[in-house]
Symmetry: C2
Subunit: 245 residues, 2 copies
Amino acid sequence: MTYCLGILLPEGLVLASDSRTNAGVDQIATVRKLSILEDPDKAVIALLSAGNLATTQTVVTTLKQAAGTGTPERDLFLHNSMFDVAQTVGGLLRRILERDGQYVEKFGDPNGTFLLAGQIRGEPPRLFQIYSPGNFVEATPRNNYLQIGEMKYGKPILDRALRFDCSLARAAKLALVSFDATIRSNLSVGPPIDILCYETDSFSTRNLMKYKNNDPYFIDLRARYSEGIQAAVDGIPEPRLCPDG
Amino acid sequence: MTYCLGILLPEGLVLASDSRTNAGVDQIATVRKLSILEDPDKAVIALLSAGNLATTQTVVTTLKQAAGTGTPERDLFLHNSMFDVAQTVGGLLRRILERDGQYVEKFGDPNGTFLLAGQIRGEPPRLFQIYSPGNFVEATPRNNYLQIGEMKYGKPILDRALRFDCSLARAAKLALVSFDATIRSNLSVGPPIDILCYETDSFSTRNLMKYKNNDPYFIDLRARYSEGIQAAVDGIPEPRLCPDG
């Protein structure tokens, strides 16, 4: 499996993905699931992928090859809106599944999903989730994060602590806690974690970070959070057993 | 969906279940998913159920009707070991699915799963997970909790904080935190939460508790844990953006 998380904030976007891919437990590899297309000073477009790796890689590679070539329905830099980019990505995913799906199905699930996020000059940053059928939904201030893949373990911390008005750095910290929870509880999600903290109107990917397991900041974050959880649990009185006795 | 949790400890067992059952989002009801069969001073046997409610209710009701009647392959009180109880429950589940499954499949998933836990005099308390095919696994000190249903949201807190040597009351507290995380993140799991804290060799169900949403202890637990999580997050320094800049 995979875990990818996108967070929409006034300050920008936090986009994070793990790096584990596996076919069964005996074929495990490290793959980057966060891809970025940049049109300097005009557009930063990121794709985070989950599901069948052949399917999602085909979509991403096709889009990378077409970027800047002017090819209709493929060159994402032709668009003036992330909504149109989402339609193009969804349409390409749909066509690739129409072409390959029937052959792949006999061997496994051909489906793939994406988080699509970024900014095109003239718009604020936007965040979308693209489903296998090619349709998609967009994040809003009220529902400002989207997840794909193995998402349930890392959801409670976001539901408790993430707010729309928090800073990029705080959201990145919460994203790392969310990934730590997932990695501890599920073998199919693993480091390194790629995180892009995109600052609104920067049109830059300078805040692209990679956290390996032995990264000193990530080690410190995990230790402090574990201690904090222990303290939180210790701070709750224990329930009285035998309430009627 | 449903969330049920069983924890095995030297001091006994903590068994917890939510009460929500639903067919779609517009047909929601409250059902008790924790059933107990008692043979005074000899056996306490608990069943927690997830999956198709018609299937699991048929199993539980059949077993309740047969308890103490001496009916072979149905009367759980005939057994001197929880392992044999697990085989009887698994066998009955298998036969009911063989009988009903083909008719139900056209309308939805007929499958059901159980946590089975309890103590029979002469043995320590034991905890099992029974799958739809009727086979089962047993919890051990190294792997001392089992979950069925909507289990992923509530797993990280257990992986972080639950230890085999913790007290019954502390395990009950962690179970409530695990349920709170699940209820916050998933509409299909809801209160009241039934919890049985079974004390080893007590052969009693005196510690059977029900936590509604407005229970003062549960309200206090949720508030303190949320504050503790905020403090844990606040206690982590924020990552430095632009690491190369």
